[in-house]
Amino acid sequence: MIKIYSARKILTMKSSQPTANYVAVRDGLILGAGDLDSLTGWGEYELDDQFSDKVIMPGFVEGHAHTMEGTLWRHTYCGYFDRMDPDGKIWPGIKTKEGVLERLKQAEQEITDPDAPLPGWQLDPIYFDNERITRKDLDQISTSRPIGVLHASGHIMNVNSKALELGGLLKTGLNHPGIPLDAEGLPDGELRGPDVMTPVAVHVGFGRDFLDCDERGLRDFAKLCVRAGVTTVTDLAARLQDEAVEMLLRITGEKNFPACVVPLRFFHGLTPKELVEHAEELLSRSTERLRLGRIKIVSDGSIQGFTARLRAPGYYNGAPNGLWYVAPDQLREIYALALDKGLQVHTHTNGDEATQLAIETLEGCLRVTPSPDHRFTLQHCQLADEAQFRKMSKLGMCVNLFANHTFYWGDEHYNLTVGPERAAGMNACATALGNNIPTAIHSDAPITPLAPLFTAWCAVNRITASGRVQGENEKISVDDALRIITLGAAYTLHMDDEIGSIETGKRADFAILEEDPTEVDPAALKDIPVWGTVQGGRVFPASGI
């Protein structure tokens, strides 16, 4: 059965035909886009006018997210910015410490089980002058129920006395840089770093594997995708054990599961050889809505956590250099093995030293194993300079820049981490595109919200949370931004032959928008309402999921 959708406008991302008003779909595939006359020749069709006043774009592709956000929404949202949950409810951002405590108090009153923990998430005290929430603040809410609030970074947690007690940390004599003490010599309730968070986190409702998504979490995450116009989404750090893969296959295979999920096998707890073997084995289990067989390596930490690896002159505030999370020799071994097998590797590099290591390592490996279309991608790559982009271009690398960082932590980078000059050049979309590097931009959800139009807005406007433009010359055009949240991201996943544009033979994946992003004020890009999506020809209105 052929369906032809009419639209106010279709932005196809196909160079030879950038716009259209009709698109024909059969069996989940696009037959073509154009005017009605150019499509009727395919045979008997049904004309569907439900999008006749909408603008259709290729379904957005989120090239760096974590499906765990779906699970986090079962916890109390404590973020500073307004944010939409999977059911479409907008949780207002909380602007003060008192407000956070008040919201937790309300949530506490709704829990009937007296022993159940109270977990919160997405706290970011930098927006209220770094005023910290202490154990004693949280004890005001409950002394009998464990409470823990995870920061937006995912690396810090504030907990109450009960949680510390259950985790065995309510004691004096602790001497650990990640556990600040109060006047009584007891932990003040802030736990910095996964090592000190873990023993307590398990008691406050964040499981040991809270980075992994569960069934309900995955379904909820898919709802967020529909609301954001996303039809293909990555899960960038999955361990993909058999049980998890079976769950993913089952859920994504459900008739009404609305997105294609691309989980990358994370390098952790196995050898380079085992990693590559596992990725290769996973590749063969891919389905239409679950794409396996890609590798993810984390090479350094985060810039705002001062754990990213920076080249000289290092951190603006003089902090010592960060940490390697992979040994350079292991990185080389993985690259070599993956190139040999034709598997793709995405490498998290935040600092410019980590980026340099990845570039040099890949260059060496490519000399041994030339691979014309490897598309190895640097994820975040926030501090790459122009020389690095030039080199990446020569080597055939792709980049997925963390455009949202400019808004959320741009002021922090300007004042504290890297200083004004480097902050203005962070996440340099214009330089990347200027060097013809296949580029994507991302949210890293749940670190920042899944919303490609917002991410595009960040890359186009480069406005920080305080309202400053940071990096005027790295702004990109709306057209470029729209291209990189669709075809650009698809390219970094080796999927540009099947998604990312609206043209004959591609999967019928559409983002359905209420307004035309090429017509609105670029400053309003983020405010365009998303009606929903079409994924593989199946229609998913945001209002109905």
Partner: protein
């Protein structure tokens, strides 16, 4: 096991030895050596992943995804991405291990692991050994990407094993030792070949030594033990410091002394690190020290 029990354990703290150092330094060889010479001690080896740890097949009794059971009650576990969970599992294992040996990843900073161990109930940091490849450590220390990581590892160590000492000429070995000594000023430097470090040097293993008669006993490969009789009341910290001053080649020591209030204290030394704690009931005063001999240094 309920979560509330997770980090509680009434038994004596389990000693944990961290073995750090970059890839190729010989960490795995050392661990295999310790397993083959465990001297009746039930060692639990924690590694990031199994793939890099070839264990002789005749030692293996059973194996699953997370645990290899070895003869003599030793086990090897991979901790993957959750070191704390793996450590907790070891606490409840039957029979309980005597000692945990934790092989850190090649770029791990040992003091950060030590910090994690310090906050967990039921464990005691025995010491941090950092293995270096004596042949190429100085090149590695000039590597653009690794120089600071290598330096931090050395700085964090109680004992630096200059492995592959047989591959380095005498003068060069001395020079490497001097160089490493400048960075790891709190550590004792021990040369080794094929990571052959005696168990009593690598791990705290004094029980038999403390119950033996006094005098000198030679351990293998250039180490000597010495018993020190001691019945006077002393300041345990001062006493330990004086031992270090008087015995420049002291690597480890353990014993029991009466402090100035007449209370019995356990004194332990690893490298240059001194640990004083209340002594268990029923122990007799006296110390055993382990020193590197001149022949061992050659």
């Amino acid at each position: 096991m309920s979560q509330s029990e997770t980090y509680q354990n009434p038994e004596a703290p389990l000693p944990v030895t961290i073995i750090g150092g970059y890839l190729g330094a010989g960490k795995t060889t050392l661990i295999n050596h310790l397993l083959r010479n465990a001297d009746g001690k039930k060692l639990a080896i924690l590694v990031n992943e199994f793939g890099e740890l070839p264990i002789d097949a005749d030692l293996i009794e059973a194996q699953d995804d997370k645990l290899i059971s070895l003869s003599g009650g030793c086990v090897c576990c991979s901790f993957g991405n959750d070191l704390m969970a793996a450590m907790t599992d070891l606490q409840t294992m039957e029979p309980r291990p005597d000692h945990i040996v934790l092989e850190a990843s090649g770029v791990a900073i040992p003091s950060m692991i030590a910090g994690s161990i310090s906050i967990m109930n039921g464990y005691r940091l025995d010491g941090t050994l950092v293995m270096v490849d004596a042949l190429n450590i100085r090149n590695l220390s000039k590597d653009t990407y690794l120089s600071d990581t290598v330096a931090r590892q050395l700085t964090d160590s109680d004992i630096v094993i200059l492995n592959k000492a047989d591959l380095v000429e005498g003068e060069e070995l001395t020079a490497v030792g001097e160089w490493a000594g400048q960075i790891s000023e709190n550590a004792k430097l021990l040369p080794a070949t094929n990571a052959k470090v005696p168990l009593n040097v690598a791990l705290q293993n004094f029980d038999r030594l403390l119950s033996a008669q006094g005098g000198h006993h030679h351990l293998l490969d250039g180490y000597v033990t010495q018993s020190i009789e001691l019945t006077d009341q002393v300041d345990p910290q001062d006493f330990a410091e004086s031992l270090l001053v008087e015995n420049a080649d002291l690597v480890r020591a353990k014993g029991f002394v009466y402090d100035l209030d007449g209370a019995m204290k356990t004194v332990q030394i690893v490298g240059n690190r001194i640990d004083v704690s209340p002594a268990p009931a029923g122990v007799k005063p006296g110390m055993v020290i382990i020193c590197l001999t001149k022949t061992g240094m050659a």
